[in-house]
C-alpha cells in the first residue's frame, strides 16, 4: 500500500497568513474575531465575524491576475502559493488539484443580486459571470502553477475541506498521482451571515465551544492548502514531512438538514479509525468540529463518549473555531493543518473563551492554554449541513 504524507501547508486566516503566523497565534490563543466590515450589519442582531483583514494578496500575485478573481478564489490562490513554497517543491505533472467549498464564489452571487434588486441588468457584465462557477479557482491554480492532473471540486458544505483531502489521499494511494494539492476556501458571505443569524446560531460577542454558556458560532472566512505526497517520493527528495494521512471516513446522518446526529458522527469517526487500521485507544488528540452552537457541541461530545468509551476524558479535544470562527468550506482543511502541526510539534492549541464547564460537554477541551503532549495520532472531525460528515486521521511520521 502506498503511503501518503503531508509536505506543505498554506494558510490564510484572520489570525495569520502562512502556517508559521497561524500556528503562533493558535498557541497564543489569539482571537481573529472583529467587527464585520465587508457588509453593513446594522440590520443584523450580531455584528462580529472572522474576516481576514489586511491580507495583501498583491504581495503574492500580480494585480492583473488578482482582478480576474473573486475573493474566495484569491484566498485559495494565496493559500496554495504558501503551501507550494512551504513544500519547496518542483512540480511535475500529473498533480491532482482538489478543492472544497460551501458556496464558492459567493461574492459574485451577492454582487449579481445587488444589481438584480435594483433592476439593473447584471448580464451585461460577462466578467462577473465568468467567475460564477467554482471551476474558476481550480482553473486558476492549474494555470498559475502550470500543472496538469485529475481534479475535483467538492461542495460538501462545512466538511468540504476533509472531503478534498480524502480524495487527494485516495488518488495517491491508488497510484494515479504522486502529488496532490488539496485546498479549500470560502469568503465572508452575506448569505451565511444572514442564515446563521436567522438560525439564532451566531454568538454576539465570542465563540465559546463546549462552554455551558456558549451562544453560537462566528461566521468567518479563510483558506487552507495542503500538499500531499507519496511517501517514497517525499523521502527521496528529503522533504520536510509534517505527518502522514492514514485514513478517512465519511458518513451521512440521513436524518435532518441542519441538526447533527450522534449516530452519524459516531459512524464517521469509527469508519475513519477502521480505514486507518487503528482503534479508539490509539487516538491522542481530536480536532473538534466544535462550532460553539449548543446543538453541535453537545452532539459531538456525546459521540466522542460513545466512540472512546471510558477513555474519553483523557483525550484532549480542542476547537480552533474558538479563535478563527467558522470558515465554512475551509474549516476542516485548516483544522487538518492544525492536526499536522500538532503531531509534528507535540503541542495542542487551546479552546479559548472557555469559562464554565457544561456537564453535557464534559470532554477535555484544552481550555484557554496550549498543552504539551506527545501526539501520535490526531483525528480531525467535520460535520456539515445535509448531515455530511467527514473525519481524517493524521499520524506522526517516522522513517519506515
Amino acid at each position: 500500500m502506498r503511503r501518503v504524507v503531508i509536505t506543505g501547508l498554506g494558510v490564510v486566516t484572520s489570525i495569520g497568513t502562512g502556517w508559521q503566523e497561524f500556528w503562533q497565534s493558535l498557541l497564543e490563543g489569539r482571537s481573529g474575531i472583529s467587527r464585520v466590515t465587508s457588509i453593513d450589519t446594522s440590520d443584523y442582531p450580531t455584528h462580529l465575524g472572522g474576516e481576514v483583514k489586511g491580507l495583501r494578496a498583491d504581495d503574492f500575485l500580480p494585480e492583473e491576475i488578482l482582478s480576474r478573481y473573486c475573493r474566495a478564489t484569491q484566498l485559495a490562490l494565496v493559500a496554495v502559493i504558501k503551501a507550494i513554497e512551504d513544500a519547496s517543491l518542483r512540480l511535475v505533472s500529473p498533480v491532482a488539484i482538489t478543492y472544497g467549498i460551501t458556496t464558492g464564489p459567493v461574492q459574485v452571487i451577492e454582487t449579481i443580486n445587488d444589481k438584480y434588486v435594483r433592476s439593473e441588468t447584471p448580464y451585461e457584465n460577462p466578467h462577473l459571470f465568468y467567475q460564477l462557477p467554482p471551476n474558476t479557482t481550480v482553473s486558476a491554480i492549474s494555470e498559475m502553477l502550470n500543472i496538469q492532473g485529475p481534479t475535483l471540486i467538492l461542495s460538501t458544505a462545512c466538511a468540504a475541506g476533509n472531503y478534498a483531502i480524502g480524495w487527494g489521499f485516495d488518488l495517491i494511494r491508488l497510484g494515479r498521482v504522486d502529488l496532490a494539492i488539496c485546498c479549500a476556501s470560502d469568503a465572508f458571505s452575506r448569505i451565511s451571515f444572514t442564515g446563521f443569524n436567522q438560525f439564532r446560531a451566531v454568538a454576539p460577542e465570542r465563540c465559546q465551544p463546549f462552554d455551558r454558556n456558549r451562544k453560537g458560532m462566528m461566521v468567518a472566512e479563510g483558506a487552507g492548502a495542503i500538499v500531499l505526497e507519496e511517501m517514497e517520493r517525499a523521502i527521496d527528495r528529503r522533504a520536510r514531512i509534517y505527518g502522514e494521512v492514514i485514513g478517512y471516513g465519511l458518513s451521512c446522518d440521513a436524518s435532518h438538514m441542519t441538526l447533527p446526529s450522534v449516530e452519524g458522527v459516531v459512524s464517521c469517526m469509527r469508519k475513519a479509525l477502521k480505514e486507518a487500521g487503528i482503534g479508539p485507544e490509539d487516538v491522542d488528540y481530536i480536532s473538534a468540529h466544535g462550532t460553539g452552537t449548543p446543538a453541535n457541541d453537545r452532539t459531538e461530545s456525546e459521540a466522542i463518549k460513545r466512540v472512546f468509551g471510558e477513555r474519553y476524558r483523557s483525550i484532549p479535544v480542542s476547537s480552533i473555531k474558538s479563535m478563527i470562527g467558522h470558515t465554512m468550506g475551509a474549516a476542516s482543511l485548516l483544522e487538518a493543518i492544525t492536526c499536522a502541526l500538532v503531531v509534528k510539534n507535540d503541542i495542542i492549541p487551546p479552546t479559548i473563551n472557555f469559562e464554565t464547564p457544561d456537564p453535557e460537554c464534559d470532554i477535555d477541551c484544552v481550555p484557554n492554554k496550549p498543552r504539551k503532549k506527545r501526539v501520535n495520532v490526531a483525528l480531525n472531525n467535520s460535520y456539515a449541513f445535509g448531515g455530511n460528515n467527514a473525519s481524517v486521521v493524521i499520524k506522526k511520521w517516522a522513517l519506515p
Binding site: 443584523y44 464558492g104 438584480y116 434588486v117 451585461e124 471551476n135 496538469q148 494515479r176 465519511l250 448531515g387
Partner: protein, 415 residues
C-alpha cells in the same frame, strides 16, 4: 487493495428530463430523435430578452423545461414544501433508479450505500432568492427554513434523508464535467470497498440565474424567433439551448448485483478526468487514462457520446481531440451529440450521457445528432445526423469538456 479488479456495473437508472421520465421513455426519445424545446414558462425571461444585442424583435426564450413536473405524484406531499426544484428532480430520479434496480435500502444496507451527485448551479436559484429576500425585506425577515437550500449539497443530502442512505454523501461541482466526475468518484468508492452500492449522477434545474449566466457569457444559441441556432457540429452552430433534469444510476460491484439476482444494464469500465492549461490536453489525457483503466484501445470503441453542445469551441475541441487520440480510427467511429436532443443540462449532462449510452448498449442503437446539416470543414467525423442508427455496440466512450479547462471521460461496456 483489490481496487483494480473489481467491476462496477449499472443496475438501475432514474431520469427526469424534458424528453422523458424513466429510462424507457428517455431511451425511446433518443432512438426516435425527438427533442422537446419550448418557451420558458417557469419564470419571466423578459429581463434576459431585453439585454445584450437585441437587434430586431424580442424573442421568447426557448429551453428544455420539464413542464407539468409534479414531484408529489412520486414522493407524496410530505416534506416537499421547503424542497427546491433541483431537490425534487433529484429525489424523483433517485426513487426511479432504486425501483429500476429493485433495490430496497434496508437498515443493514444503509451504511454500505452512498450518494454521489454532480451539481454546480443546482442551488443557485435558492441561494439567490435567499440573498435577495435579505436585501429587499431585511435580514430579520428572511425565512430561516430556506437557509439549508443555500448549500450546493442540499439536493444530494435530501436524497440521503428521504431514502435513508448513510454510507456517504458527496456533491461535486466541476461544471460541465460534474456528472461524469460524480460517477467516476462513485466507482472508485465501490472499488475501494467503501460502499457496496452508490446512487450516482447529476442534477441541474432551469432557473433565471443559470439562464442569465450562460446568456451573459454568450453561450446560449441566439433565439432566432423561437427556433434557436442550435446545431451541434454544424458549421452554423452558435450556442446551446439550456435544459434541466436529473439522472441517477445505481452502481454496484458485479458480484453484489449477482448476489441480489439483478442483471447489469451496463459496465463502467474506465474513467478519468484532468485539468490543465489547455482543454485539448486535458481531454486527451483523460481519454487515454480512461481507456487504459478499461484495458481497451481506440480500436475497441464502437461509439463516442460527445459532450458537443453547439458552441463553437466545445464541438471543435472534442472533434480535434478524438482525431488526435483515435488517428485514422476517428473516421470509423460514430460520434454523436445527445445534447442535440436533450439540450444542455450542464452538471447533469454527463449523468444523462451514461443513461443514454446504457440505452444504446442495451437496445443496440446510436442516438442521432439532430439538426446537423451544414458541414464544418474542421468538424468532419461521422456525427450520425438526423436519425438514430440501429447498430449493436459493445463499448462506448463518453467525453465531456468544460471551458475552464477540465475534461472527463468514461468508458462503458455491454454486460
Amino acid at each position: 487493495m483489490s481496487a483494480e479488479t473489481a467491476e462496477v456495473v449499472v443496475t438501475g437508472i432514474g431520469v427526469v428530463s424534458p424528453i422523458g421520465t424513466g429510462k424507457e421513455e428517455f431511451w425511446r426519445s433518443l432512438r426516435e430523435g425527438i427533442s422537446n424545446f419550448k418557451e420558458v414558462t417557469l419564470f419571466d425571461t423578459s429581463l434576459i430578452e431585453k439585454s445584450g444585442s437585441s437587434e430586431g424583435p424580442l424573442n421568447r426564450i426557448v429551453a428544455g423545461e420539464i413542464t407539468e413536473f409534479d414531484a408529489s405524484e412520486f414522493l407524496g406531499k410530505k416534506g416537499l414544501r421547503t424542497m427546491d426544484r433541483s431537490t425534487r428532480l433529484l429525489c424523483v430520479a433517485a426513487l426511479l433508479a432504486l425501483q429500476d434496480a429493485s433495490l430496497q435500502i434496508t437498515e443493514e444496507k444503509s451504511d454500505r450505500t452512498g450518494v454521489s451527485v454532480g451539481a454546480t448551479y443546482g442551488s443557485l436559484h435558492s441561494i439567490s432568492q435567499f440573498d435577495r429576500s435579505a436585501i429587499l425585506e431585511g435580514p430579520r425577515f428572511v425565512n430561516p427554513s430556506l437557509f439549508p437550500n443555500t448549500v450546493i449539497n442540499s439536493p444530494a443530502s435530501h436524497v440521503s434523508i428521504r431514502f435513508n442512505i448513510r454510507g456517504f454523501n458527496t456533491t461535486i461541482s466541476t461544471g460541465f464535467c460534474a456528472g461524469l466526475d460524480a460517477i467516476g468518484y462513485a466507482a472508485d468508492f465501490i472499488k475501494m470497498r467503501r460502499a457496496d452500492v452508490v446512487l450516482a449522477g447529476g442534477v441541474e434545474e432551469l432557473c433565471e440565474e443559470t439562464l442569465m449566466g450562460f446568456h451573459a457569457l454568450g453561450m446560449l444559441a441566439p433565439q432566432n424567433g423561437g427556433t434557436p441556432l442550435f446545431f451541434p457540429f454544424d458549421s452554423r452552430r452558435q450556442g446551446f439551448i439550456l435544459s434541466e433534469g436529473a439522472a441517477l444510476m445505481v452502481l454496484e460491484e458485479r458480484d453484489h448485483a449477482q448476489k441480489r439476482g439483478v442483471t447489469p444494464l451496463s459496465i463502467i469500465a474506465g474513467y478519468s478526468n484532468a485539468i490543465s492549461y489547455s482543454l485539448e490536453e486535458s481531454l486527451m489525457v483523460s481519454i487515454q487514462a480512461a481507456l487504459e483503466m478499461s484495458g481497451m484501445g481506440t480500436e475497441d470503441i464502437d461509439y463516442i457520446a460527445s459532450g458537443a453542445n453547439s458552441t463553437k469551441e466545445t464541438d471543435l475541441i472534442e472533434t480535434r481531440v478524438i482525431k488526435r487520440v483515435f488517428g485514422k480510427d476517428a473516421y470509423r467511429v460514430p460520434v454523436s451529440a445527445v445534447k442535440s436532443i436533450l439540450g444542455e443540462t450542464y452538471s447533469a449532462s454527463g449523468a444523462f450521457a451514461v443513461a443514454a449510452v446504457t440505452g444504446a448498449l442495451q437496445w443496440g442503437f446510436i442516438p442521432p445528432t439532430l439538426n446537423y446539416n451544414v458541414r464544418d470543414p474542421e468538424c468532419d467525423l461521422d456525427y450520425v445526423p438526423h436519425r438514430a442508427r440501429e447498430q449493436s455496440i459493445q463499448n462506448a466512450l463518453i467525453i465531456s469538456t468544460d471551458p475552464y479547462g477540465n475534461a472527463s471521460s468514461v468508458v462503458m461496456k455491454r454486460p
